[in-house]
């Protein structure tokens, strides 16, 4: 019973990835658009897009971290 609730909590925590995926998709969509407009700026835009994606990925990582903590810390106690 308690283990099941912990599993549900871990699953909910990792759902932060859903919105992060949308955000990251936006980053790359805009980057592709910008490269289409200014092909000569491609090198600058590529590194900027990767950094932007990695920063917005942080939210998903927080969720994953919380879910891992729930699984291994709380799950270990049951």
């Amino acid at each position: 019973m308690e283990l099941g609730l912990i599993a549900i909590g871990a699953g909910l925590a990792v759902m932060t990835g859903a919105l992060t995926a949308i955000g990251e998709g936006n980053v790359f969509a805009k980057a592709v658009e910008a490269i289409g407009k200014n092909p000569e700026a491609e090198n600058k835009l590529r590194s900027m897009a990767i950094v932007g994606a990695a920063i917005s990925e942080t939210c998903a990582i927080y969720g994953l971290l919380v879910s891992l903590l729930i699984m291994f810390v709380l799950g270990g106690r049951v």
């Binding site: 990767i50 950094v51 990695a54 920063i55 942080t58 990582i61 927080y62 971290l65 891992l68």
Partner: protein, 226 residues
């Protein structure tokens, strides 16, 4: 009090850095300034130029002189510790104490330089901008980089390691289903390299770059305009 395993890995990585620096030092002493640079000398020259340019673009000359070497050191240390998962280490950055310490250094540098270049009076005034009720938000804003920067690095590296161990566990179970060669984890051998490439190399290098560029940007943000 028991010693964490991470301490030994940190010592090993520090030894590696010292060895690299000894080698670099010998090569630099041998190097004739009129020659074309090659090997590690060329690499060091490119690295120093890049870091100096990054630091000079976003801060002023007085800070840049001292901040550049610190950023260089941080880069070498973070790169080596992030990719050390490839040779079977527990990456030191997957330990929260390490990342929290690095983030504390960053926050200390931000506040110290803000006070030094704005003056204490202007610094304290900055807490009440744009209106007085924003005091609480500004205080939270001062502490936020500490948590977000340390958690970002820690989370990325730790989850990479955890996911890799889950992958190995799963592929081990899957290859056990095959009768004769099942004892050997051959499915992991096929799947794991690509994941190692992403979680150890790519994520490690990107997170290093983000950590150092955020450090520079946050320090530069608090300075008065040029």
């Amino acid at each position: 009090m028991e010693i964490q395993d991470t301490v030994y890995y940190i010592i090993a990585i520090t030894m590696a850095i010292i060895a690299i620096l000894f080698y670099a030092n010998i090569q630099i002493k041998k190097y004739d300034p009129l020659d074309k640079p090659k090997g590690i000398v060329l690499l060091l020259m490119m690295g120093v130029t890049t870091v100096d340019k990054m630091v000079n673009d976003q801060t002023n000359e007085i800070i840049a002189e001292n901040l550049g070497p610190y950023i260089g050191t941080l880069t070498v240390y973070l790169v080596l510790s992030n990719i050390s998962g490839l040779i079977g280490f527990d990456p030191p950055t997957a330990n929260y104490s390490v990342t929290l310490t690095l983030a504390m250094i960053t926050v200390f540098l931000i506040e110290k330089n803000a006070i030094k270049f704005n003056g204490l009076k202007n610094y304290l005034k900055g807490f009440f901008k744009p209106f007085a009720p924003f005091f609480l938000m500004n205080v939270v804003g001062k502490v936020a980089p500490l948590i977000s920067m340390s958690m970002r690095l820690f989370g990325n590296i730790l989850t990479g390691g955890v996911i890799m161990s889950i992958v190995y566990m799963f592929t081990g179970l899957a290859s056990n289903l095959v009768p004769i060669i099942g004892q050997f984890n051959f499915i992991g051998l096929i799947i794991a390299p690509a994941l190692h490439f992403y979680f150890d190399l790519f994520a490690g290098l990107i997170q290093t770059y983000i950590f150092i560029s955020l450090t520079i940007a946050l320090i530069g943000k608090e300075l008065p305009l040029k």
